[in-house]
């Protein structure tokens, strides 16, 4: 629960951008869009766990 998740997301973002560029240049445009989509989905799943944790804390805290 610290900064490393921010760096992880930044790294995934840069990675997907680079992979997308490489695939685009080598002519495989459809795979490039798929790879960027995969990157976004991975990041969203990571965020999901974070938000679930936060909402669980809020639920127990405010006795919802």
């Amino acid at each position: 629960m610290d900064v490393e998740i921010i760096f992880k997301i930044a790294a995934i973002g840069i990675l997907t951008a680079v992979i997308g560029q490489i695939l685009k240049n080598s002519g495989k445009d459809d795979i490039a869009t798929l790879s960027t989509l995969a990157g976004v989905i991975i990041v969203l799943i990571m965020i999901l766990n974070l938000i679930a944790q936060l909402f669980e804390t809020i639920r127990t805290m405010f006795s919802f």
Partner: protein, 130 residues
């Protein structure tokens, strides 16, 4: 005090992270900003427990019924969540959605505060010499 430094550090890193990512992947910038917000909230929320415990002990001493206090807690929680969602909506650019979430939060709080109002009226009625 060191949590404050942690919060400042995370906020700074998140801002720079969003700036760095924005040209290459604009959608990731919003996600990074959102993650920073979630982490900061997570750090801050631990402080609330001490506040609520002191309030609980005060409530026990004065003998008020605890249900009102849990209701107030719920309302604070709802305000907390709606503000969080509204700022997230504003970040991603659709501020109109944020306003609607605000209105929704206000209505829910209004509905939940009706028992408090009725209990206050009840107390006032009991005081009146009928």
């Amino acid at each position: 005090m060191e949590t404050l430094y942690k919060v400042i550090g995370i906020a700074g890193i998140t801002c720079f992270g969003t700036l760095l990512i924005k040209p290459t992947k604009p959608d990731f910038a919003v996600i990074i900003g959102f993650t920073g917000g979630v982490i900061v909230l997570y750090l801050i929320i631990n402080y609330l427990t001490s506040i609520f415990n002191t309030f609980n002990s005060i409530i026990e001493k004065t003998g008020l019924n605890g249900s009102l206090f849990t209701l107030i807690l719920k309302i604070v929680g709802i305000a907390y969540l709606t503000e969080f969602t509204t700022s997230m909506c504003n970040d991603t650019g659709n501020s109109s959605l944020g306003d609607k979430v605000l209105i929704g939060g206000k209505i829910v709080i209004m509905v939940m505060s009706i028992p408090i109002i009725t209990s206050i009226l009840q107390i006032v009625m009991d005081l009146l010499p009928t």
